[in-house]
Every structure is written in C-alpha cells, then in structure tokens.
Symmetry: C2
Subunit: 410 residues, 2 copies
Amino acid sequence: MAVNLNLPAAVPVAGVEWATLASGIKKDGVTDMVVARLAKSATTAAVFTQSAFCAAPVTVCRRHMQQNSGAVRALLINSGNANAGTGEPGLTMASGHCDALANALEVPSMSVLPFSTGVIGQLLPDDIMRQGIENAATTLNSETGTTLSHWQDAARGIMTTDTHPKLTSQQVTINGSVVTITGMAKGAGMIQPNMATMLSYVFTDAAVPASDLDDVLREVADRTFNAITVDSDTSTNDSLVLVATGVGEPVGEIHDEWLAFKAALTHVCLDLAQGIIRDAEGATKFISVNVTGGHDVAECKCVGYAVANSPLVKTAMFASDANVGRLLMAIGKADVHSLDAAAITVSLGDVVAFEGAGIAAGYTEERGAAVMAKDEIDIHIDLGRGSAEASIYTSDLSHEYVSINADYRS
Amino acid sequence: MAVNLNLPAAVPVAGVEWATLASGIKKDGVTDMVVARLAKSATTAAVFTQSAFCAAPVTVCRRHMQQNSGAVRALLINSGNANAGTGEPGLTMASGHCDALANALEVPSMSVLPFSTGVIGQLLPDDIMRQGIENAATTLNSETGTTLSHWQDAARGIMTTDTHPKLTSQQVTINGSVVTITGMAKGAGMIQPNMATMLSYVFTDAAVPASDLDDVLREVADRTFNAITVDSDTSTNDSLVLVATGVGEPVGEIHDEWLAFKAALTHVCLDLAQGIIRDAEGATKFISVNVTGGHDVAECKCVGYAVANSPLVKTAMFASDANVGRLLMAIGKADVHSLDAAAITVSLGDVVAFEGAGIAAGYTEERGAAVMAKDEIDIHIDLGRGSAEASIYTSDLSHEYVSINADYRS
C-alpha cells in the first residue's frame, strides 16, 4: 500500500545503460543486482550518510569519488545485504567487486561506485556477487539496456521493503533542446537521511561540470531528501547520486536556464523523496509539517522533525485523531532556544487550532477531525519570530509498521 | 501488563496525610484527585519539564517554589486533564485552585503546589475541581490519612494509562534512628523526561535543609528519572517533587550518613523510574542500554538514547530479534563527534556481538537469540575512548503501544 504515489512518467536519459538481474542474494529469483554503465562524457556528484557506522560500499564510494574527480563510468548496486558492520572483510569485498566490474567493462576501478542495501551485519556472498557481476557485464556488452523497461527494471531491482518502484522524470528546454532529468529512489524504513536518502540515483543528459553538479546536488538535497523521515532512523548506507551524462546540452552558461534546470531537478528529487514517504513502511497518511516564522531554517527543521518523529503524533495521525495537545507537546520538546508559546500558531490544514497560548477561538473538534480524516494532512506551525521556513515530510505510525519491522529478518 | 514490576514494599512516611477521591474529572467514579498535606517542618525540592509548552500548573509550581523557599504545605494533584496548552485561563484556574485549597487548609496560597496529568489542550472543569478540593479538605480536616492504604490510594489516584500503581520505600539508619524514603510515580507514555518524569512524589521523614534537598534531587534525578524513555516524547507536565517532612532525624551532618541517605534515595528513584518503564505503554520487554568507555556522561547518554529511542531497535526487541545491525545503525546516527567504529564493542547480555569493526568471532545468531528471548535485556555498548558511563532504560515498541495511543482520546 502507498499513499497517493502518482509520480510523473519516466523518460530514459541518453548515456545510461542498465543491466538488472536476480543474482541469488535474495531468494526466490527476486531481482537484486543492478548495474548502470555511464557515457564517457558523464560527470557525477554524490552525497552519503553521516552515520559513524557507514557501510563498506559508502567508504569505497567516498574513496573513489576523491580519486576520480567525478569521472564515474559504472554504478554497481545490490539489494538484500547492506555490507554494513562488516569491517575489513566487507571493505575488501566492496573494492574487489568494483575491480571485477571494472575489468569486465574495461574501465578504471576507481570509476566504479558500489552500493548495497538490505540486512546489516552480514558478509555479502562473494561467489554469488562475482557471478552476478560477470553476468551483468556480459549483458551490457551484448545488448543495449536503454529502453524505458530497462529503467523500470532497475528501479524495481533496488527495492527492499518498498511496495512500489519510485521512478520519475522532468524535462526542461535548454538552448532550444530538451534536457531530461530522471531519478529513482528506494527506501521505506530506516529513513531520516542525514545528507542523502537510502539509495537514490538521478540522471540527466545535460552536460554539467562536476563542481557545479556537486553544488546543486547539496542544495537540492537539503530541501528534498534531507527533509523526510519515516522513523528518525538514519541508515548506514544512505547514498544519493546525480549523474550528468553530457550526451545532451551544456547547462549552466545562461543563468535563467540554470535556474530552470535546478527547478526541474528539485521537482524530481522532491517527488522521489516524498515518494519514499508515500510508500513508507506501514504508511496510511502522508503528512507535511510546514514550519514558518523561524529565526533560521535550522530551527524550523528542528521543530518539524520533533513533530514528524514523535511516536505520539504519529499514532494520533494513524487514528485520524485531531490531537492538538500532542502537537504542542512535540513542538515544546524541540531543542530550540526560548520558544514563546504565546507567539506560536498551529493549524491543521486551513483550520487554526492554537494561537495566543490557547486553543483558538472558533476551533472545534469537528473542524479538526474533518482535516484529519483525509489521507494527506498539512500541519502548519508558525513560530512567530522570523521569516525562515522549512517543510518536513513524514508518514504515520501504524500497526503495519510494527509488523513489518518485527518480522523483517524472520 | 507490566514487565517484572516487583517493587520493594512501601512504608508510610510520618508528616504526610493523604486524601484521595473521585471528583468527576474522569468518568465512571475513577479516582482522579489526590491531596497531600505536609507537616509544617517539611522542606521541599522540585524539578519540572523543560518543555517550551509547559503546563499551567508547572508555571504556577515554579512561581510558588520561588516564593516559598521550599516551605510547601500541600500538593494538589488531578489526573484526567493536564491543564496544558490552555493559556491565561488555565493559569488563572491553577492559581485559583491553589487559593481554594490554601483557604480550606489554612495555609499560605504559595505553599500549595498544583499538578495535573491527562489530556492536553482542554480547560479543567472548574466547578468539579473546586467541589473536589472542598471535599478533600473536609476529609483531611476530619480524619488522619496516614495509613499504608491511604498511600496506596494516592499512588492509584495519579495514574492515567499506567496499569499498576508504582509505590516503594527504602529505609536507612541515621544517628541510630530509622529514616524512611517512600516514593510514588505515574507515567506510561510521553516519557522521555527532561529534568523529571511526568509525575513523581518522593517523601522522607528526615529533616533536610531545602538547599541540600534541591542539590541531591537534581543529582539523583539525572541518574534515574532523566535516564528513561518510552517514546522520546517529553511531557508538558513532568514534575518530580522531593519532600523531607522533618518529623524524623536530621540528615546531612555526618558525611557517611548523608551518603547512605543518598544511596537509599537513589534506590527509590531508580525503582520508580524503572517501574515506569516496566509498566510502559505496550511494554513486553525491559531493556537496559548500558554505555561505557565514553569521553563524558553526556555522550554516553546521547548514544544510549539514540539506541533506546530507535523505532527499528524497539520493534526488533518486541520481536526478540537479535538484530545487531539495527544497534549499529542507532549508535552510528547518534549526534556524537567522530565515533570510531573500530573501537566500539557491542554485547547482548554477556554475549559479545560486535568488535573490531565487524561481527565478533564466536558470535552466532543462536547465542544472540538466547539473550533476546528473555523479557529483561541488557545491551552493553563500550565506546572504547574514555571512562565515563551512563545507563538508559526503555521498553519495546509493540502493537499494543500503537493501539493504546491510536485509541487514547476516543
């Protein structure tokens, strides 16, 4: 089940070829390995989890990104095993798998980025991975994996507890030519990314210098992937990659076109980030916590996350309960200096529920309940002391969330 | 249901009289009002929630405590309504109810401390409260509410979603005489106290100067009530009160006796704080997260809370799943500077599960599962970089927690 997950249709991006297969890491012939080969002209930017226990592939990605100056030629992705908490053997394996794919595709080893997602604390099955890599390379060397169905297979191949693939596009006209931006994302739990979400790959055929690509990725990530939470839990494997294949138009020379490109990129990333929430583990509601009137964006995010991560708010949302008291509780516990309750306004949708330090005049349970009955709920919190704002997106806490996470490994 | 909630038996403390009644705030004749009258010799210390949305009674308590120099003569406690998010009318009511009780007991108004717990964002029923206060005062003026059953009624009268009252004692010999410390606590959800728990009252017949009482309360609270979490949610009403009635021996003049008194006080507070967790909403497990080897206590607590509040750790606990990966994830996301994964050791009970940046030699799922099958689980995390330590106590995240909190107001 997913809450109104209706993403704009995807369009393939020139300069990217896919191979997707069931290597055998997951059981029952489920696809679990995805390899992307990128055009030689591609530039790449990436951001990764800030976890102190970051996974072996994240460490190898960071190392390769430092060495390759954004010249990435292949992405190697497996699901079913995160290769996290696996120490030196895990690092050796992640590097070795990059070497294997690099050899098979005849590209430098440091131009391969590895990604893993799944169970933490178990070594990858080395033989299965190497056989899968060989098979994927053979496929890429013998046929062209560039059709929409190849993209759809890839988006499905990176899923774990997701119930739907998340794949979408935006197009903008640059210098008279159409530029496409297409992204995919996976992740349904262990989601409060800290710099990036679990796994997301965004591609454009535009030509963008690596340093510009890095700047725009960090700026866009802060308002999209770094503004969502399912359960406050930050993954060991969060990775967000932006590839500009350079097969199409150069972007960045004309200011207005750069803004249009950035807007389209933001649109794709926000759709994917919100898509993760719409398809979150056990989600029955899609909740936007919009915080305005703050001194700065950081305090708006702090209040937004305090509300979005509160188990008592999330269970009230699951119950469609207009429990304004729990919203006040969550705002009150946020680690923000000297909030003034009397200056704060809290609204459910268009209904003002709390202002002037008390329940708002004209507020009734019935009016609140009418907002809460919907499956998309906007909470608006005005801190009444500045002009900064931020939005955080989250899901509710349902019985299904508990069932999924109490049963995941069994 | 509660997890092994077996508290040492309670003994009444001389200098405290109780009246407990069903005023009508709660329906169906459930007790919802508790009044304590304290001996004139009593000194009192108290700590309160740090919530920016602290409840009206907390504001009035702070004001009265500033004015009365620890000379408290009565506690007025209601359950069923928190008088939080109620603005100026709520403050006026809390003050007015103190005045009413002060008049009826012939004590100064500022010597009355008010406490409320229950639903947030609704005004108290003023007439019902005033009638209850009058009835309680009549009872106190006509009979002696000092027996064990009066204490038990009081502990039951402050409950909300608690399934069991939490009341316990320790005794120490001071200067040849027995000094008693008896405490009660309530709270089962919205529990990650920030300075104190939802409502807890601890009494001793010892004579302790107000400033010493304040110091010892803050020190003990940090290791007991400020070391528990059910759901990371900090209440608007958290209050912890320590009363020394002064009817018994003076404490504090002899260093060894002061240490014995502090140890007994810590024992009572830890039993009550852990009792809250054992009786937490939906709890099926009692979990101790013991963090050692930190630079300082703050970072040990930070790691402990990151683990104890992680929904993915808590659902794994509910499932008795030895999911070491989720423990690593939670440690990794803690807001602690430059943790070194290679220095960290993680054990389940006596079983070392993770060390040297990888799964420990000799660790097996079977050995982990044997620990997790118990209803009391010790997690030990050594950060390997210092000598500070802290323990955090928590419960698991079960279907029952979701049910309780999705249904609470309906």
